[in-house]
């Protein structure tokens, strides 16, 4: 698999046991926890692994490429006495790597004198800058009601067959530094993009590659690919390798980096598999008890720090098994990330793109990046009002399904109309439509104007006077 050759290190010939991707190696002295090993099979092929547990003269080793083809007697394990490091360099942008960070685009090994530990280190909370600058994605359901900020981690929760890849590609293509509503367009600083694929099909990786090529971004993209037919255990390293490069670019090269991780559900699968092979006590649905901490060790590698101008913004993509948001992967992700964009099956069936289910979606940092001097003064209350009205629409729909639309009160009928228009005009937009923030706000007000003024208790009276255009606007 890997072509690294490293000299030195203690070598053990033969392993005691092989269980799935795990080797039990006996006879090595003073092994370090988490150190990298190089494994040679009987034909001289090399692969890499990592120490998961050490005892006296015993080491439990996880083999990234899996153990297929390894034999008890013919396997040699060399302990490299260091944790897993990858080279990091600006010239890695424009390149494609495998899930462990080796180039697979036919190009040379990146030249670098910097090797960084893929595990990274926690950012000291005192060193962080709280995110405040919004990213305009041109997508109303994000910019308007779930605003993304530079330095935020905001996942897409999706399901099989839904257009999460298109949405992620659209975000990446359109993302620019946001500005105050109405301000003239400026040359936005461009994002560097670090893309990590875990267990997705080749088509998906290809789709993103084409999309980056078409938008002319390819020279700013580094891709780390562990595809569906690549070894599952390697997936555990892939996002770490990607984030290690992202940290270098953001914090040492002052770049604004967008990291797309897809599909985190496959990552979780790999973690679960290893945990099960090791016979660990599971928590929910067979996932290990440390799933939360493990995911946090990836997602928390996002943000801004005071000593650099750069930032890392993460967009992890998860397909929810059975569209179940309470499944451990989306659930624990939602507990760590700063909100979530949820795609809805029904909207997707109805042909709405992007099918963002607004109600369960959230951007926790939105409140700090919008409003006066950032987007527009009315934006926070306008957003809360749209949410409240759309939530009310759901109740009205439920009622209508019982008593029939004709029996609804006049106000409730208006809510039904509002709801439909909200989905068709606000949520729905084309894959190429890049809406300005003022356009998004304008559409929202147009929709709110379909409701009686009295219903709009979240926006203030001045805002109603200024933006409300409904039939009872005058009184």
């Amino acid at each position: 698999m890997s072509d690294v050759t490293v000299q030195g290190g203690q070598e053990v010939v033969g392993v005691a046991r092989i269980e799935g991707p795990i080797l039990i190696v006996e006879g090595a002295a003073n092994v370090s926890y988490d150190e990298v090993v190089e494994i040679q099979d009987s034909r001289g092929q090399l692969r890499r692994g990592r120490v998961l547990e050490v005892g006296e003269g015993v080491a439990v080793v996880q083999v990234f490429a899996g153990s297929t083809g390894l034999s008890i007697d013919g396997t040699r394990v060399r302990f490299l006495s260091n944790t897993l490091h990858i080279p990091v360099a600006e010239e890695m942008l424009g390149r494609i790597f495998d899930g462990l960070g080796n180039p697979i685009d036919g190009g040379p090994e990146p030249l670098s004198d910097r090797y960084a530990d893929v595990n990274g280190q926690p950012i000291n909370p005192t060193a962080r800058i709280y995110p405040r600058d919004y990213i305009q994605t041109g997508i109303s359901t994000i910019d308007g009601v779930n605003t993304l900020l530079r330095g935020q981690k905001l996942p897409l929760f999706s399901g099989a067959g839904m257009p999460h890849d298109q949405l992620a590609a659209q975000i990446v293509r359109q993302a620019t530094l946001g500005k105050v509503a109405g301000a003239p367009a400026t040359e936005g600083e461009e994002f560097a993009i670090v893309f990590a694929a875990m267990g997705v099909k080749n088509d998906v990786a290809d789709y993103f590659r084409r999309s980056f090529t078409e938008s002319g971004a390819l020279t700013r993209v580094a891709m780390f690919l562990n595809l569906a037919d690549d070894p599952p255990v390697e997936r555990i390293v892939t996002p770490r390798a990607a984030l290690t490069l992202a940290e270098y670019l953001a914090y040492e090269r002052d770049m604004h980096v967008l990291v797309v991780l897809t599909d985190m559900t496959n990552y979780g699968e790999a973690l679960r598999q290893i945990s099960n092979v090791r016979g660990e006590v599971p928590s929910r649905k067979g996932y290990p008890g440390y799933l939360y901490s493990d995911l946090a060790s990836l997602y928390e590698r996002t943000g801004r720090i005071r000593t650099s101008k750069g930032s890392i913004t993460q967009i992890p993509i998860l397909t929810m098994p059975n569209d179940d948001i309470t499944h451990p992967m989306p659930d624990l992700t939602g507990y760590i990330t700063e909100g979530q964009i949820v795609l809805g099956r029904e909207l997707n069936f109805a042909g709405i793109y992007p099918p963002v289910a607004v109600l369960p979606s959230l951007s926790r940092l939105m409140k700090d990046g919008i409003g006066k001097n950032r987007t527009r003064d009315d934006h926070p209350r306008w957003g809360a009002q749209l949410y409240a009205a759309y939530a009310k629409t759901q109740d009205v729909r439920a009622l209508a399904s019982v008593i029939g639309e004709e029996e609804l009160s006049e106000v409730d009928q208006k809510y039904l109309k509002f709801g439909r228009a909200f989905e068709r005009e606000f949520v729905n937009q084309s894959f190429t439509e890049n809406r300005s923030i003022e356009r998004t706000l304008e559409i929202g007000w147009k929709l709110l104007s379909m409701l009686p003024k009295k219903e709009l208790t979240r926006v203030n009276l001045d805002e109603i006077a200024k933006y409300y255009k409904g039939e009872d606007a005058a009184n």
């Binding site: 002295a29 003073n30 092994v31 926890y33 150190e35 998961l52 547990e53 050490v54 005892g55 006296e56 944790t83 595990n119 990274g120 280190q121 926690p122 950012i123 000291n124 909370p125 005192t126 962080r128 709280y130 660990e280 006590v281 599971p282 929910r284 290990p288 008890g289 440390y290 939360y292 901490s293 946090a296 928390e300 943000g303 005071r306 000593t307 650099s308 309470t326 499944h327 659930d331 624990l332 507990y335 760590i336 700063e338 909100g339 109600l359 959230l362 926790r364 926070p380 809360a384 949410y387 409240a388 939530a391 009622l399 019982v402 008593i403 029996e407 009295k454 208790t457 979240r458 203030n460």
Partner: protein, 589 residues
């Protein structure tokens, strides 16, 4: 100190086993490996010890040494705690940043309390005084206005033989000398206390004073008493953290201990950047000047996360012992429970429910038991109130941490996903929540605002539960089927929900409601209800009430009327009188 007591034989994440001396104590603090990482002995069997390590163990080798310290895991207590931010084992994060840069690497060793800084100190004892543990020896000004009462360690006592004169001292300068049964002892401002041992007090007092948080749904509907314990469970994104931040900002406690336990780095940064600029409405000083922060974020070592809760509660008790009201926020206790589970799993202990160790309930009980309004050893009274966030997987309250927590708290603020989705904040479900302090604090309200809060609160609760019953009917047959009197209930409960329960933490005027404003709003809404009810009983159609302009005025009052403009409520009441009076006149039969 620091003799080698063992040799590492096994490493798995934060858990390490070593073999060696039989003299190491259970819960003794040890230094592990060549880098002297901090750890704690959590298991002993013959010459085998199990250690949880508070730092990342990557790269640690078997065969490396373990050093003993002879001491249990302790915190340092002295002036200088306030305005600090520590990790879970009380390492000062700003110093770590100075020394190591933006990322936390291993092996950081810093004094939790500055040894050089001098504090303005005034003695409160004199030579010849007999002093017992907890006695106040003197006071130091910890901020311009906060008086730090320097106490004798609860385990000490004796006769004072020397007292330092008033002056500026560091925390390690001698301030008192004592003759004790074991000889002469020099006392400094700095004392240490083992975190896993509750600090002693004389006895508990009744918890009958509410902790006022300025949050209407809490104070008016589900109050927690000073010295009480509350749990706030909710799925992700439902408002645990925002509610905890709001309490940390506005609660009428003198000291706030905020523990970010296994949660986001940005949330701690937010507090750090915001609190110095927010002014405490009571003291007029920046909120940071009463706050101690413990930040062991989700990506920091998991064993230190387990310790963070104890570090925080011990600091809280220390200020309680001075006679202060302390409020402690722990966000989130579930992450602490998971840290227990993770360590337990590595030890291959027999799991109970969902992989949690069988001692989970015991640990939760010990923690919440450390809340209380107490008579201190020195005769003063102080309290520690605990507000613990709970993060149930999938938002399912039947999981072990939520269920066990419920046994040890008396106030349950149940967050609700569907309210949060509709952006009804705080998304605390009024039907699922409860407070067992309601009757205990009723007298306080009566004295404080001179009104029958309990009666009004209970009436509002009745209306809300009536609403829930009526909504079931509405869902089946639509609102038109209800008689006007019942629809009047729905009009009023809308005012309660939108005008009182909903409170926007990000809006200046609305973020904090004084108790006076809270009770006045409630009174107005109930007044509206009584007047409206009288009118619909006479046969007036409900839409006439619904369309009254004052409805909108009441709903907006929370954010249009500031805490200082109480008179404006009288105007609103006049509007009710006027508009209802007109209707009343029309339907006088």
């Amino acid at each position: 100190m620091s003799d080698q007591v063992g040799t590492i034989t096994w490493i798995s994440g934060p858990v390490v086993r070593a073999r060696g001396s039989r003299n190491v104590g259970m819960l003794e603090l040890v230094e592990v490996g060549s880098e002297h990482l901090v750890g704690e002995v959590i298991g002993l069997k013959g010459d085998q010890m199990t250690i949880q390590v508070y730092e990342e163990t990557s790269g640690m080798q078997t065969g490396s040494p373990v050093y003993g310290t002879g001491l249990p895991l302790s915190v340092e207590l002295a002036p200088g705690l306030i305005q600090s931010i520590y990790d879970g084992v009380q390492r000062p994060l700003p110093l770590i940043e100075q020394a190591m840069g933006s990322f936390i690497s291993r092996g950081a060793r810093f004094d939790p309390i500055n040894r050089e800084k001098k504090w303005k100190y005034t003695p409160k004892v004199k030579v010849g005084d007999e002093v017992q543990g907890g006695a106040i020896l003197g006071v130091a000004m910890e901020t311009d206005t906060f008086e730090h009462r320097v106490m004798l360690n609860p385990d000490d006592s004796g006769t004072i033989t020397w007292v330092a004169p008033a002056g500026d001292y560091t925390v390690v300068d001698p301030i008192v000398k004592l003759k004790t049964s074991k000889g002469e002892k020099t006392v400094e401002m700095l004392q240490r206390w083992p975190v896993r041992r509750a600090r002693p007090f004389v006895d508990r007092r009744g918890a009958n004073i509410p902790l006022i948080t300025g949050q209407r749904i809490l104070d008016t509907f589900f109050p927690v008493a000073k010295g009480g314990a509350a749990g706030i469970p909710g799925p992700f994104g439902s408002g645990k953290t925002v509610t905890q931040h709001s309490i940390a900002k506005w609660a009428d406690a003198e000291v706030i201990v905020y523990i970010g336990c296994g949660e986001r780095g940005n949330e701690m940064t937010e507090v750090l950047q915001e609190f110095p600029h927010l002014i405490d409405p009571r003291s007029g000083r920046p909120l940071m000047e009463r706050t101690v922060l413990i930040a062991n974020t989700s990506n920091m070592p998991v064993a230190a996360r387990e310790a963070s809760i104890y570090t925080g509660i011990t600091i809280a008790e220390y200020y309680r012992d001075m006679g202060y009201h302390v409020a402690l926020m722990a966000d989130s206790t579930s992450r602490w429970a998971e840290a227990l589970r993770e360590v337990s799993g590595r030890l291959e202990e027999m799991p109970a429910e969902e992989g949690y160790p069988a001692y989970l309930a015991g640990r939760l009980a010990e923690f919440y038991e450390r809340a209380g309004y107490v008579n201190n050893l020195n005769g003063s009274q102080g309290s520690v109130s605990i507000v613990g966030a709970v993060s149930p997987p999938g938002g399912d309250f039947s999981e072990p941490v939520t269920q066990h927590t419920k046994r040890f708290i008396r106030c349950f603020w149940a967050l609700d996903k569907s309210l949060a989705s509709a952006r009804h904040f705080p998304a605390i479900n009024w039907l699922d929540s409860y407070s067992e302090y309601v009757t205990d604090v009723a007298d306080w309200w009566r004295e404080k605002v001179g009104k029958d809060w309990l009666d009004m609160r209970n009436r509002a609760m009745e209306l809300l539960s009536e609403e829930s019953r009526l909504s079931q009917i509405v869902k089946l047959v639509g609102p038109d089927a209800l008689p006007y009197t019942e629809r009047m209930v729905l009009e009023t409960t809308r005012l309660i929900r939108e005008g009182i329960l909903q409170q926007n933490a990000t809006e200046d005027v609305d973020a904090y409601s004084s108790v006076e404003k809270q009770i006045r709003l409630l009174e107005l809404v109930l007044y509206f209800h009584d007047r409206g009810m009288a009118i619909v009983r006479k046969g007036a159609p409900i839409n006439l009430i619904h369309d009254l302009p004052v409805v909108d005025t009441i709903i907006r009052a929370k954010s249009t009327v500031t805490n200082e403009e109480m008179h404006k409520f009288d105007d609103i009441q006049k509007q009710i009188d006027q508009q209802m009076g007109q209707l009343d006149a029309e339907y006088r039969s």
